[in-house]
């Protein structure tokens, strides 16, 4: 099951050239771009691991692609996303984020139903892969 988080996730995976263009757009807007990675694709897992610092003063997207390739060498089997942070007063938040690397196989989520008082049901989703310990979830 394809994980759809962030922008462009219903489109086919972006090529490096397309990533470059998107990132350049963010930089030209004055947003600080950075990379984050994880191997826990649960939708409520909002805080992914940071790869390096946010790039506040790199004028060209090639710098991010350089780091992306470095990150892929180490975490190419997991999820990597680009985060563009707008530091201007009043925004001070992420303006754009999209996945740039995903595992070759995405097993999806288990839906478990818990019957509670009064015949009502509570639902929980768990990624199948999180049964494995961290670091061994995707190969």
């Amino acid at each position: 099951m394809r994980v759809t988080q962030g922008a462009f996730s219903f489109l086919p995976d972006l090529t490096d050239e397309q990533i470059h263009t998107q990132v350049q757009y963010c930089i030209d807007k004055g947003w600080a771009v950075s990379l984050e990675y994880t191997d826990d694709p649960h939708p409520r897992n909002t805080y992914w691991e940071m790869w390096g610092h946010p790039m506040f003063d790199n004028p060209d997207a090639a710098a991010l692609l350089y780091e992306l390739n470095e990150c892929r060498k180490q975490f190419g089997h997991g999820y990597i996303r680009v985060v563009a942070f707008d530091s201007t007063s009043g925004w001070e938040s992420v303006r754009l984020s999209f996945i740039v690397n995903r595992p070759s196989e995405e097993p999806g989520f288990r839906l478990s139903r818990q019957e509670v008082k009064g015949r009502s049901i509570q639902y929980t989703t768990t990624p199948y892969t999180t049964d494995q310990p961290e670091g061994q979830r995707y190969r």
Binding site: M55, D57, N58, P59, D60, A62, A63, E67
Partner: protein, 337 residues
């Protein structure tokens, strides 16, 4: 309804429409790019503007200008080849600028960034100037991130490493400079499309640097040597500098300046255009002082912008240089005798 071109009707005879339109389109596409007017490209890319500005704003430096012109021609031809679909390989543009102090290496690097940007060779055209301190860390594991940070900042533009020979310290084999050099070489090779690296330094030391790092010499295609300025060129530079600051020489002051340049060149620590700039700063100081002491009543534009002979003649250069140098030379002569 026989001549209908309604979209819903074309579906009935798909073979007809595609058979007719496809070759026509192909022919059209190839027809548009069978020849390229280099002269027009030269104009429209703005390269002409940069080269002309280079000619105007830089005095002397003939070999440097020729080299830049050649590079510009190569890049234009390369671009034309690309447009025509010929095999093209992005040329390596890493450069090394060697020359004595004050010969305009940094100034040219700045113009180079602008030129490469107009040619579309670098995307942003900014210049990042660094020295050893910005690249080499202070403890183990500090150098790599520091160097990479600088390289990332320079991507899309030009990285100018001033006094690059300091990166390599042969006397200390644990020096972290070697690590910075390795990362530099790797990025220069793998990210050729992303950044241009320019190394600069004094000729003799750069030669030694390249000898001990053969990888660098082979990865740098363009070695440009900056010659010293002649006396006439320096005088020209002096007048241009004064002009830019809205000052001017009197005729006698100009003669004194020519004399000054000749004398200054023979004294130690001569740094070409930089020495001239410093001399001009001191002249302005003396001029201000003179005006302050001698002026009776209000001063006009004329008085405020004129450098007189006396402002120059007060210089120690006319007395044989700094007192400390004179003393040293005297000491030398004594010991020889």
């Amino acid at each position: 309804m026989t001549t209908s071109t309604m979209p819903w009707e074309s579906g009935g005879r798909p073979s007809d429409s595609t058979a007719v339109s496809t070759p026509a389109i192909q022919k059209l596409e190839t027809a548009t790019v069978t020849e390229i007017d280099l002269a027009q490209e030269f104009e429209s890319s703005g390269v002409r503007g940069v080269l002309e500005e280079l000619d105007r704003s830089l005095i002397g430096l003939k070999p440097v200008k020729n080299r830049i012109r050649e590079t510009a021609a190569l890049l234009l031809v390369e671009r034309a080849r690309k447009a025509l679909g010929l095999a093209h390989e992005t040329p390596t543009l890493h450069m090394s600028f060697t020359g004595n102090p004050g010969t305009g290496k940094t100034t040219v690097a700045l113009k180079m960034a602008n030129l490469l940007h107009r040619l579309g060779y670098v995307r942003k055209g900014h210049l990042v100037t660094v020295t050893r301190d910005d690249l080499v860390g202070q403890y183990i594991g500090h150098t790599a991130p520091k160097t990479k940070e600088v390289l990332k900042k320079a991507m899309g533009g030009v990285l100018f490493i001033d006094e690059a020979y300091y990166l390599y310290r042969p006397d200390n084999e644990r020096d972290y400079g070697q690590e910075a050099i390795e990362i530099l070489l790797q990025v220069m090779e793998n990210n050729r499309d992303d950044l241009v690296v320019i190394l600069a330094g004094y000729a003799d030391r750069m030669d030694r640097f390249f000898e001990s790092n053969p990888g660098f010499r082979s990865r740098i295609a363009h070695h440009i040597d900056f010659p010293d300025y002649t006396d006439d060129e320096l005088l020209h530079i002096a007048t241009t500098m004064l002009d830019a600051q809205n000052y001017r020489f009197t005729d006698t002051a100009r003669t004194a300046m020519a004399e000054y340049i000749g004398l200054r060149r023979r004294q130690p620590h001569f740094a070409n255009a930089r020495s001239i700039r410093n001399a001009i700063d001191r002249m302005r100081l003396r001029q201000a002082n003179r005006l302050f002491e001698s002026a009776k009543g209000p001063l006009g534009v004329e008085a405020l912008s004129t450098i007189e002979e006396s402002d120059l003649r007060a210089s120690r250069v006319f007395r044989g240089g700094l007192d400390i140098d004179i003393a040293r030379d005297a000491g030398k002569q004594e010991s020889q005798e």
